[in-house]
C-alpha cells in the first residue's frame, strides 16, 4: 500500500512516500513560509525520482494541525485534491502526534510548536509496548504553564518541535536534567512520521473523507483571550 504524506504545519514543508515496510522517499525543506509555491513541485520531484505518479498512490496522509493556519490549509487542500481526483482514502493526523512519533523514547514525549507571543501548541505522549499513547490532549497554552506542569508532574522528558528552538533557554532553565532536547533530525515535522501514522490508523479502521477533512487549528478560547487581554 503506497502512502503519500505531507506536513506543512510549520515552516518545514515535508513530503514522504512509504510502502508497507519501507520509507521510499522523503523531501523536506525548512524555509520561509513558501509552501504554496514549493509543496507541489517537491511532491512531483520526489515521485518523478521514484518513477511514480499520483495515481499510483493508495493512501494519502496529511498533518491537520495544530500549526500555521495558512500552512495547514495548503497541505490539506493539496492532499484532499489528490485524493479526490483519484478517489483514494485520506487520513488526517495530528501534527503533535506526528512529532511525538519521531521519538522512540521510553519516557514522556512532549512536542512543542511555537504559537507566537509566548504561546505554544503542545501535548504529552508516552509509549506503552511501542504504541504511542496521548496523555495530555493537544492544547494551546503559555510556555511557562507547560514548564510548571512538567516540573511538577513529569520526569524523563524529551521535547521536540520548533518551539524547542524558540524557547530553548526557558525549557533548559525550568527542567534542567529532567529534559532531553531532541537531535536535529528528529526535531522537526517529518512527513515520514505522518505517513506511517496514517497507515497505522488506516489499518485500525480510521477513514476520513476528502469532503469533510478540516484543519485542527486549536484556537485560543474566548475565555483565554479575555484573560490575556486583562493581563495586558
Amino acid at each position: 500500500m503506497k502512502t503519500l504524506a505531507v506536513d506543512t504545519s510549520t515552516m518545514m514543508a515535508t513530503c514522504a512516500l512509504l510502502d508497507e515496510d519501507r520509507l521510499l522517499g522523503e523531501f523536506s525543506l525548512n524555509q520561509d513560509m513558501t509552501h504554496s509555491e514549493n509543496l507541489v513541485p517537491m511532491i512531483k520531484e520526489m515521485l518523478d525520482n521514484l518513477n511514480l505518479k499520483v495515481k499510483d498512490i493508495d493512501l494519502f496522509g496529511v498533518a491537520i494541525g495544530p500549526g500555521s493556519f495558512t500552512g495547514l490549509r495548503i497541505g490539506i487542500a493539496t492532499i484532499k485534491s489528490f485524493a479526490h481526483v483519484f478517489d483514494k482514502p485520506v487520513i488526517g493526523v495530528s501534527t503533535l502526534e506526528g512529532l511525538a512519533f519521531n521519538l522512540p523514547y521510553k519516557g514522556y514525549i512532549v512536542p512543542i510548536i511555537d504559537a507566537r507571543r509566548n504561546r505554544i501548541y503542545t501535548g504529552i505522549y508516552n509509549r506503552i509496548k511501542g504504541n504511542l499513547i496521548n496523555i495530555v490532549e493537544p492544547t494551546i497554552m503559555e510556555v511557562d504553564k507547560l514548564m510548571e506542569l512538567l516540573q511538577e508532574e513529569y520526569d524523563h522528558i524529551i521535547v521536540n518541535g520548533n518551539g524547542t528552538l524558540v524557547y530553548r533557554d526557558i525549557i533548559l532553565e525550568a527542567l534542567g536534567d529532567q529534559v532531553i532536547m531532541a537531535p536535529k533530525n528528529l526535531n522537526s515535522c517529518r512527513a515520514s512520521s505522518i505517513g506511517e501514522l496514517a497507515l497505522l490508523k488506516y489499518k485500525e479502521g480510521q477513514r476520513d473523507s476528502y469532503y469533510h477533512l478540516v484543519p485542527e487549528y486549536l484556537r485560543e478560547s474566548q475565555a483565554q483571550r479575555e484573560l490575556r487581554k486583562r493581563d495586558k
Binding site: 493556519f69 495558512t70 507566537r116 507571543r117 487549528y217 484556537r219
Partner: protein, 153 residues
C-alpha cells in the same frame, strides 16, 4: 496626532513611498477612511516604497493579499468581516506578529485585537477635489521614531 494635507495624487504617492521606505519588520498600519478616500491608493504607494513590484490590488474580496518586497507586505481589508473571530479563523496572528509589514484597511473595525503599538492613519476627503487630509496617530516608541523619520512636524 500629526495632520498632513496632501494636495493631489502626486503628494499622496510621495508620502506613501516615503513611509514605505522607512517601515520595519513587524510594523502594523491601520488605515481608515470613507469609501473612495484613498486607502488602497495609499497602500499602493507604501508598497512601492517597500520595493513591491507586483501590481497591488484591493483585497476586498480576497481578505488578505501577500506581496514580496524589501519586506513582505500583508494587505488586509476587513470591511466584510463580522468581527474579530473571523480574523482568528484566517490565521491573522501569523501575519501581524511576523517579520513583514501589515496594512489593514478598515482597521478600526477590529481595533480590539490589534496590538496597541501600531500606526493609525486616517484619510479624510477635503473640500478641494483630490485634496486629502491625513491624520497619523499611535502609541509607543516605534510610532514616535517613525514620525521623526518622516520629518513632517
Amino acid at each position: 496626532m500629526v495632520r498632513i494635507v496632501l494636495k493631489g495624487l502626486k503628494e499622496m504617492e510621495e508620502f506613501g513611498e516615503k513611509l514605505g521606505s522607512i517601515l520595519k519588520p513587524g510594523d502594523i498600519i491601520s488605515l481608515t477612511g470613507d469609501l473612495g478616500a484613498g486607502k488602497t491608493t495609499l497602500t499602493k504607494s507604501i508598497g512601492k516604497g517597500l520595493g513591491v513590484e507586483d501590481y497591488i490590488t484591493s483585497p476586498t474580496f480576497t481578505l488578505i493579499n501577500e506581496y514580496k518586497g524589501r519586506l513582505n507586505l500583508y494587505h488586509f481589508d476587513v470591511y466584510r468581516l463580522e468581527g474579530p473571530i473571523d480574523l482568528y479563523d484566517l490565521g491573522f496572528e501569523e501575519y501581524i506578529y511576523s517579520n513583514g509589514v501589515s496594512i489593514i484597511e478598515w482597521g478600526d473595525k477590529i481595533e480590539e485585537i490589534l496590538p496597541e503599538e501600531r500606526i493609525n492613519i486616517q484619510i479624510e476627503k477635503s473640500v478641494e477635489l483630490d485634496e486629502r487630509i491625513i491624520y497619523l496617530y499611535g502609541e509607543g516608541e516605534r510610532f514616535k521614531q517613525l514620525i521623526k523619520e518622516l520629518n513632517i512636524d
